[in-house]
Amino acid sequence: MTPLVRRWWPTALFFAVITSMPLWIHDGYVLQLIFRVLVFAVLGMAWNFVGGYAGQLSLGHVAYFGIGAYAMTLSVERIGWNPWIGVLLGAVLAALAALIIGSITFRLRGPYFALSTLAAAEIIRVLVQNQDELTHGAVGTNAPLLFKAPDIDAKFFWGVIPLLAAAFALSTWIHNSRFGYRLRAIRENENTAMAVGVNPAVDKLLALLPSAVFTSLAGSIYASYFSFVGPDTVLTIEISVQVALIAMLGGAATVWGPILGSVVLTLTSEIFKTYFEHTHLVVYGLLLIVVVIFLPGGVISLFTRRWSFRRQVGPIGAQQ
């Protein structure tokens, strides 16, 4: 095998398998489940740019998710646009929001940063909840469909794959580029990074911009699939935590980690949900505790450790 083939065949195989899934899976429930796995994999990857590589624990990513969902819905309902233009509008608005939120919150470090992102997302939630005339307030409203029947499940499924591929490509690039190394330097020690010529203010913003855009796009498609937007569904803190958990669970600052994390988290909480009502929070909580205490490198470190045991897995496992 040429090096190129050796390096990329698992990726090619993975994308070939998931792309073909709607052709051989006809159970709507299973497709819906995998669709959710893929959307949350995109979200985990997007969070990973900021939370994993740059080590900035954002607990406010639901803000961009909600902006994507609401922008698509309201541009159809209030302006009468095509929902796809609404999706683009959402991405632009999310980038703008990221610029504003980022330039304020990135001045803060550690727990202050985490809490200020949470606060920013909550401000957006409260504002949306209280603009009844524009957003339907706390009740929420129906979201438009991005794809029309027939075979709507398959179309949504194929709709999210380009997004996943783009997020995967960007992740791979960040993982191996100088930009990625600068982000990791910021994560390890911001002062030292500055001393060697990294500008954390700029690099953190540059990581947040694509992160917000991908989160917004995933938010649009997710809201459209479940055809509903409301402050308690697309702007809840739970999604912020879930997204961070997915990246951490799989392995922060790795390309495959968020995909793995999304598979594990979505499937575990689904399995528990079929046996008990209201268990997903217990599952998230216990998984978080287990990951932090026993597996700070994420599930992926179970595999990489065996193959490259000489490399130490850091507190936030730093390898692919």
Partner: protein
């Protein structure tokens, strides 16, 4: 007169905030740990108080030390089991761990108690008293009085007792304290227990004037962190004053603008204080 009423209402609620935030300030000051599970423990306090009243007829206004003791014990256990392992780790892991504890507690509460809203009907708490055109519910006054008394007791404990001195020594310098014969692990466990007990007791005192459900604690984690930032990180006195201030700020916003914007005020204050006066409004250290 309405402004005076809003001010006094804010002060009464602020007293309870002061108690919650003192607990968080204590934990942060001594352990350098941001306790994302603070509100979840407050929620546990409300349920203890609820079932104590419904099943055993224990009035929260005199049974609260019992609920505080239960939460103290639970928190010390959780410290030894889990929190101990992330002491000295980066704050990323600490936040995720306490967030995990929080989610697990909320999820367990949903499983065990269901998601319904619950309320108790305590005759004394519903009585209204007042002078002139000002009116207060007796429940608010009682909760305020007990909270303020407890904050003062906590301050005296930290200043006057041997354990209090040990706690302050660890807050000042974690590396040097053991050289003075202080058992840092034990002090941390007790601090965590005390901080959580503050949140739990506040929950028990909020129940007669409020309601509860498994997610009731969520806003209080953020609120108490806002207050801790406002009062100067880790300062218990600062947190007490910050609590009163936040209570008043909320009531003023609710009166001047709209009820529902009161929560935005928290976050705006939080970000502004962090950006422009990160040492807190009152400066100083624990």
């Amino acid at each position: 007169m309405a402004w005076v009423q809003a001010f006094l209402n804010g002060l009464l609620v602020g007293g309870v905030y002061a108690l919650i935030a003192s607990g968080m300030a204590l934990i942060f000051g001594v352990m350098r740990l941001v306790n994302f599970a603070h509100g979840a423990f407050l929620m546990v306090g409300t349920y203890l108080s609820y079932y104590g009243w419904v099943l055993l007829g224990l009035n929260p206004y005199w049974a609260f030390p019992l609920w505080g003791a239960v939460l103290f014990a639970a928190a010390v256990g959780i410290y030894w089991l889990l929190v101990r392992r992330v002491m000295g780790a980066n704050d990323f892991l600490q936040i995720l761990l306490t967030e995990g504890i929080s989610l697990a507690l909320i999820g367990l509460a949903q499983l065990v108690f269901g998601a319904d809203y619950r309320q108790i009907n305590l005759p004394i708490a519903n009585r209204i008293t007042g002078f002139g055109s000002l009116h207060f519910s007796v429940g608010y006054i009682l909760s305020f009085a007990v909270s303020v008394a407890l904050v003062i007791a906590l301050r005296q404990f930290l200043r006057r007792t041997e354990m209090g001195r040990a706690i302050r020594a660890v807050a000042q310098n974690r590396a040097v304290a053991p050289l003075m014969g202080i058992r840092v692990e034990r002090v941390s466990a007790i601090t965590f227990g005390l901080g959580i007990a503050c949140a739990g007791v506040a929950g028990a005192l909020l129940l007669p004037i409020f309601w509860t459900n498994p997610t009731v604690g969520g806003p209080y984690t953020l609120k108490s962190f806002v207050i801790v930032v406002l009062g100067g990180m880790g300062s218990v006195q600062g947190a007490a004053l910050g609590g009163l201030l936040l209570g008043i700020a909320e009531q003023f916003t609710a009166y001047a603008w709209a009820d529902r914007y009161a929560e935005v005020v928290n976050f705006v204050i939080f970000i502004l204080v962090l950006l422009f006066r990160p040492q807190g409004l009152f400066g100083g250290k624990a």
